[in-house]
């Protein structure tokens, strides 16, 4: 009896192990055929990949200065460095050779403070850059460049979870589909670096929701951040869809068929690509308690035309079904036909008003007066210059469309779109502005069309486009 159980579990063991991606398979079946030498060279060259990504409209941390030769180093103007920055070797790997400073030492012009509060002087930096130029940190010790870039600012949300450094998110993308992701949290043991084999924590992420699941440190499962009571699971990573989008877009641009994109979230600029990895490691499988081989097999051969589609497929295939269902059932809030809404306009201006919830309307509308109050006075004035602030006939609207008036209108930075409405009272040609709405404590990023609502009871009307997350109870 015992032996049959044993055989069964051995069989299970080997069957399950086939879901895992090993080094041999990664190299032979994914890196070799899908990551061409040219693309690999791009990924290994941080400055060049930064440039290429930036040119394609992808957010990267800003380059401050580069040092390519000893002469550059000797002539370098140290006073032009900002108070905080990161110094990196161009071809470094595994986070080696990176120096991050957080501020200038008070009262000194030649010293900065590092994460561990120790000082680093210009003299130290010179000697470190010499080592970089000499190739001490580069792949196979070839001579290298050093560069300074802006330091990313830690998001408040992550503060209790990470020790000193900034956490990052590794996303594996294959065939334009994100297949697995992991949050890497720097720890005391890792010296503030988000590097797993130095002792950082790897946290698995549900691809559909961006919520953390299981976590590992030093190849062992953990449930709490060491030294705290913070659970490693259940953390919702902000900008989740943007992060997947960024990673997938980076795969398309870099030409790396099998990519590990490292993304950090900057307090001001949001998701930012840190670096591209042509040979991403296998530990992500342990953090997620999931096999990559199985996932890669599922997505290979699917024809994906756009990045958006790829992200959607990845989210659908590799998201936890239970959580999704829960959201379907209980995640939607029930609201009435009139609700208190908090609107955040330009420059953080907040106004609370009663809004009409109207499922008969497609798009949401806001009165001119309220829009002005929210700081969109310039946009309103610009619109008024076109003399469109009135009821128009259908012919007039068609003429406006033919003249591409919307193009002219959208030149204003606050005008994000133009809406045409037709009703029994006639047609209107409205401009749209972007605001954030808080409806029953749920944030909705909305495009509101500005209209003349004088004589109506509510200065704002919420239409179907912004009501996806709600159920409407007419008796409420």
């Amino acid at each position: 009896m015992r032996s049959t159980i044993c055989e069964y579990s051995m069989f299970e063991f080997f069957k399950n192990s086939r879901k895992l991606l090993g080094m041999n398979s990664r190299n032979l079946e994914f890196i070799r055929p899908f990551n061409r030498a040219k693309a690999k060279r791009l990924a290994d060259n941080k400055m060049r990949s930064k440039r290429v990504l930036k040119k394609n409209g992808i957010s990267v941390s800003k380059l401050i200065a580069t040092i390519k030769t000893i002469e550059d180093l000797e002539n370098f103007d140290w006073q032009k460095l900002p108070n905080s920055f990161a110094l990196k070797p161009n071809r470094g790997f595994g986070g080696e050779g990176i120096v991050v400073v957080y501020g200038k030492k008070k009262g000194r012009d030649d010293a900065w403070v590092k994460a561990d509060r120790s000082l680093i002087t210009i003299e130290d930096l010179v000697s470190h850059i010499r080592n970089i130029l000499d190739g001490s940190f580069s792949l196979s010790n070839t001579p290298d460049f050093a560069f300074f870039e802006e330091r990313l600012q830690l998001l408040k949300l992550f503060k209790p979870y990470s020790y000193k450094g900034i956490p990052d998110i590794r996303v594996i993308v294959f065939n334009k589909i994100p297949v697995m992701a992991m949050l890497r949290l720097p720890t005391k043991e890792s010296g503030g670096k988000a590097n797993l084999h130095q002792g950082a924590i790897g946290v698995g992420i549900d691809l559909a929701t961006g919520v953390t699941t299981t976590a590992i440190q030093n190849n062992r499962l953990i449930e709490k951040i060491p030294g705290t009571q913070l659970s490693t699971s259940g953390l919702r990573i902000p900008y989740w869809k943007d992060i997947l989008f960024l990673a997938t877009k980076a795969q398309e641009i870099s030409g790396l068929g099998y990519l590990g994109a490292d993304i950090a979230i900057d307090k001001e600029n949001g998701p930012t690509i840190l670096e591209l990895n042509a040979r991403p490691g296998l530990a992500i499988q342990v953090a997620n308690l999931a096999g990559l081989a199985e996932r890669l097999k599922r997505v290979s051969g699917i024809k994906i035309k756009t990045v958006e589609k790829g992200v959607r497929v990845g989210m659908d295939l590799f998201g936890g079904e239970i959580e999704e269902e829960l959201e379907e059932i209980s995640g939607r809030k029930v609201i009435g036909t009139v609700e208190k809404v908090k609107i955040t306009g330009k420059n953080g201006k907040e106004v609370e008003v009663e809004a009409r919830i109207d499922t008969g309307a497609g798009i949401s509308a806001i009165s001119k007066e309220l829009a002005i109050e929210l700081g969109f006075d310039e946009a309103v004035r610009y619109w008024e210059e076109f003399n469109l602030d009135k009821v128009l006939s259908e012919e007039e609207i068609q003429k406006l469309s033919a003249n591409k008036t919307w193009k002219e209108l959208e030149k204003h930075p606050d005008i994000v779109g133009v809406a045409k409405t037709y009703s029994a009272h006639g047609a209107t040609y409205r401009i749209e502005i972007k605001v954030s709405l808080l409806i029953d404590n749920l944030a909705v990023l909305s495009k509101l069309s500005i209209s003349n609502r004088s004589g109506l009871a509510y200065p704002i009307l919420i239409g179907r486009r912004d009501l996806n997350k709600f159920l409407i109870d007419v008796k409420k």
């Binding site: 032979l28 000499d134 096999g291």
Partner: protein
């Protein structure tokens, strides 16, 4: 027992190639295949293929395994020690390795003298060639030390030592030598064997170990 010698081996020796050299050259592909197998199927990394291979041959050329191992350990020990000694000087790579090589050669010289003094003539009479091979290990060791840290360098050095010791026993295994002398063509079989190893996409044994906790939960 009559030793079966292949005609081609006869031909080689008649042309003046020493039989020891022939055996070493025939052993080389076998040891190389063994190392490739250990890397791809078992998952032992060591310092690539060249270093364990050449260390194996250095062991074969020293008088007995223990002197070879002693020199190996001395080299690694000094590599470790010198890292701490040289750290405050902040030297560039090549001068740093040059100083390390100097210390290593001096240490080995002292070891040989001590060996002679203790009447361990075996150590003192080790030829210079395997000693030089061993010294080249320093550069490999230092390179990994800089890139991946002390711990990884030590692990890889240990793996190299183990592989080389196994290689030593394989290459000095009498029945294998007899087979090779009798049927030298057999070494061509290592080519298809390497093709199979080179196409192997399964998990390495070390990966079964690494993922053992999660395999049950997949």
């Amino acid at each position: 027992m009559e030793l079966n010698i292949s005609p081609i081996i006869h031909f080689f020796t008649n042309e003046g190639v020493p039989i020891e050299t022939i055996i070493l050259l025939l052993m080389l592909p076998i040891i190389a295949t063994f190392i490739a197998f250990l890397r791809q199927v078992v998952g032992i990394k060591a310092f690539g293929i060249y270093t364990p291979l050449i260390i194996t041959f250095a062991f074969l050329a020293t008088n007995g395994l223990r002197y070879g191992v002693a020199i190996f350990l001395a080299v690694i020990f000094i590599g470790m020690l010198m890292r701490f000694v040289m750290k405050p000087f902040r030297l560039l790579y090549l001068p740093r390795v040059a100083i390390m090589l100097t210390i290593v050669s001096l240490t080995i010289l002292v070891m040989l003298v001590l060996g002679g003094n203790q009447r361990r003539t075996g150590l003192a009479s080790v030829s210079i060639f395997p000693i030089l091979i061993m010294i080249t290990l320093v550069e490999k060791f230092v390179a990994v030390q800089i890139e991946k840290g002390n711990k990884t360098a030590l692990i890889l050095a240990f793996e190299t030592l183990i592989i080389s010791i196994f290689g030593f026993y394989i290459a000095s295994w009498k029945p294998l030598i007899e087979i090779l002398i009798g049927y030298p063509w057999l070494i061509l079989l290592t080519i298809p064997m390497n093709i199979v190893i080179g196409k192997w996409t399964g998990l390495r044994i070390s990966e079964y170990f690494r993922f053992r906790h999660i395999i049950k939960q997949l």
